[in-house]
């Protein structure tokens, strides 16, 4: 095995990449854009929901209650109206998401333990708002009426670990690293072989003494470096803009990421041996990307998914990688404690690379 050939393939890949301005831009552009999108636009913290109140009791106690609701910062009480009908109008026209109706017998309801004290009118078209309303409904409210209203059974104190402020960025960024690396790494290698086939380079290459393994490994290695650069970028931007911590070892994170990147690149190469055109290669990339986002635990809690979806998720490298990033970045776990996940990624990378090498034909028929 002559390392000259392997190095030649790697150098060629980097030279080509250097001249491909768009791809080069994507290496930086995709992580930054995704991070900003998920960090700023997609905000699953529910704060400052526009809301209005119709206080028909207008007593000391009801005003206190409204002030307490405002304190949660979940609701942003922008206006006060006279009747519940007006609340409905505001809801329908989308001017508010939540309306609070306090009936005129509010004080008596507070004393009577069996009745609810007020009514929450909710825009049910947004599932997150419905979820928040459920929490609000069980909010313990201290009334200084002296009445001995029992706290209802479901007013539990919520005390979240690892992300006490419940900031979305902290939840999202570790998973997002996986999504971004999956997208860019798959894309770069999925077109790698097909492009050479389409441009006619492959007919020349397979007539030279370069071996399939040298060709495949030579195409993977430069992108591992690029993937690690992307990781650095995401971690840095995530930290600067969104205060996402890396509580565990940065080295461990890099080690895990290197294996994950290799797994994705190998999968991409395999796709590249399946696809006939660059367009097909892109389609296959997106075919892989969707389950990676939906079944990996990035969007939905993994344990809450149906068994079948969980099995599918276990096959995806990103599932294991998200466990690694969340573990190291947020829970301060060590890479050794996550050894099983690393092992799974390693197995995946080897299987995919072997499959790609076996599938790659050195003939044209």
């Amino acid at each position: 095995m002559t390392p000259i050939r392997l190095v030649a393939i790697m150098r060629k890949e980097l030279l080509q990449l250097k001249r491909d301005r768009i791809s080069l831009g994507m290496i930086v552009g995709i992580p930054v854009m995704q991070l900003l999108l998920f960090g700023y636009a997609i905000n699953m913290d529910v704060r400052n929901l526009k809301s209005a109140v119709s206080d028909q009791a207008n007593t000391h106690m009801s005003r206190q209650f409204i002030a307490d609701l405002g304190q949660t910062q979940v609701l942003n009480l922008t206006r006060s109206v006279a009747s519940p009908e007006q609340l409905e109008d505001l809801l329908r026209t989308g001017k508010i998401s939540v309306g609070i109706h306090i009936p005129s017998d509010f004080d008596r309801r507070v004393i009577d333990n069996r009745r609810t004290v007020a009514q929450l009118l909710i825009d049910g078209t947004d599932p997150t708002i419905v979820g928040v309303a459920g929490q609000l409904a069980s909010m313990p409210v201290q009334f200084d009426s002296g009445a001995n209203r029992q706290p209802s059974a479901n007013t539990l104190e919520v005390r979240p670990f690892y992300n006490p402020e419940r900031r979305t960025a902290v939840n999202v960024v570790p998973g997002l690293i996986g999504v971004i690396l999956t997208l860019t790494m798959l894309m770069f290698t999925a077109v790698a072989i097909v492009r050479e086939r389409e441009h006619g380079n492959l007919e020349l290459l397979i007539n030279t003494p370069v071996s399939t393994t040298q060709l495949m490994v030579g195409k993977v290695v430069p992108y591992i470096v690029i993937g690690l650069v992307q990781l650095a970028l995401i971690v840095a931007v995530g930290n600067l803009l969104f205060d996402v911590p890396v509580r565990g070892s940065l080295l461990g994170l890099y080690a895990g990421a290197a294996v994950f990147i290799a797994a994705n690149l190998s999968l991409g190469l395999f796709l590249s041996t399946v696809a006939r055109t660059q367009f097909q290669a892109m389609q296959l990339t997106f075919f892989m990307l969707l389950p990676s986002i939906l079944l990996s635990g990035f969007v939905f809690p993994f344990d809450g998914m149906p068994k079948l979806a969980q099995y599918l998720g276990e096959i995806l490298p990103i599932t294991h990688f998200i466990r690694i990033t969340r573990g190291i970045m947020l829970r301060e776990a060590s890479i050794l404690e996550l050894g099983n996940e690393v092992l799974m990624l390693l197995v995946f990378a080897l299987v995919a690379l072997t499959a790609a090498i076996l599938r790659f034909s050195r003939r044209l028929d």
């Binding site: 150098r11 060629k12 380079n201 007919e203 020349l204 007539n207 003494p209």
Partner: protein
């Protein structure tokens, strides 16, 4: 006599089928060493398929090929370092410079690092790229691209060079330069198999095979082929060549009529007693006056005659 030393390529019954289509049909081939051997044939005649089988890119449906003393089917990988291959389509990297491409090829053939620079310098000056070393290969002209492709195909000094229509996108002057390079290489001992559909290129080959719809219809050196065409070639100068062509085409004794400018080239089987009289009387019967004389056969006549004899391509 030892076949290994005399012939760079020996193929027997080489056949390739793609579904129902027979691209190459029982091709026998003997390519002598250090000679330029031509594959002449129209598009779709099986030239590319034959070359791809010879370098192991395609697996023959039937038959076998021995290249440089090795069976292609068994020793394709051992042959690769000894063969230079130039594809029909430019297959170097358009987004790499001339020098980067040559360096890449040198590395791929594991050309020793310390000898790499002198070898690349030698090729750069020999193939006229001194001023274009840092130019991207994709921005070269058609002729320059082919020169670069040839330079990289011979970089590792292969014993056998397979060239698939190397000059199809090149102007006549560049073609002449290109062929001058091929003769130099052959003189240095390289065997060259080159496919073409240009008659003038075929004439330059030491030996050539004419392919037609997958069949070899003629094989020999160009002058022998011209001498043994089996036809009499007549040149007809008529006042109105169009009418004359119409008149002659219907004659069953006339094999082929081709218009070349204001003249006609007419092929008549050479067992005919008096071909001049045959043509003249036919034209006279149509009220046409013409000057008819016998001329030497060209390679194009050989091509027409042999493709007709084989049942012919129906272009």
């Amino acid at each position: 006599m030892n076949g290994n030393t005399d012939f760079a390529i020996r193929a027997r019954g080489l056949t390739k089928q793609f579904g129902d289509l027979t691209a190459v049909n029982h091709l026998d081939l003997d390519v002598p060493r250090a000679k330029i051997y031509g594959f002449l044939g129209p598009n779709g005649s099986g030239k590319t398929t034959a070359i791809r089988m010879l370098c192991g890119l395609l697996k023959p449906t039937e038959g076998s090929a021995e290249v440089l003393g090795l069976q292609v089917a068994e020793a394709a990988n051992d042959l690769k370092p000894r063969i230079g291959y130039m594809t029909q389509k430019f297959s170097l990297y358009g987004d790499l410079t001339v020098e980067e491409n040559l360096r890449f090829i040198a590395d791929i053939y594991a050309w020793p690092r310390k000898n790499q620079k002198p070898r690349i310098d030698e090729l750069v000056s020999k193939y006229g790229f001194e001023k274009r070393r840092r130019q991207l290969a994709g921005t070269l002209s058609g002729g320059q691209k082919q020169r670069l492709a040839l330079a990289s195909a011979v970089l590792h000094k292969p014993e056998l060079l397979l060239l698939d229509e190397p000059t199809s996108a090149v102007d006549p002057r560049n073609r002449r330069d290109f062929w001058a390079k091929l003769f130099e290489l052959a003189e240095d001992g390289t065997t060259i198999l080159v496919s073409t559909h240009y008659m003038d290129e075929a004439e330059r080959c030491h030996r050539l095979a004419i392919l037609d719809t997958g069949n070899k219809v003629a094989d020999g050196d160009p002058s022998t082929l011209q001498a043994s065409i089996g036809m009499t070639v007549l040149e007809v100068n008529a006042g109105n060549p169009g009418d004359a062509q119409k008149a002659l085409t219907d004659n069953p004794d006339i094999v082929s009529v081709t218009q070349l400018g204001i003249r006609l080239r007419v092929l008549v089987a050479d067992d005919h007693a008096d071909p001049i009289a045959l043509v003249s009387s036919d034209l006279a019967a149509h009220g046409l006056k013409a000057d008819v004389r016998i001329i030497a056969a060209s390679l194009e006549d050989v091509f027409v005659a042999s493709t007709l004899a084989s049942g012919g391509s129906d272009e």
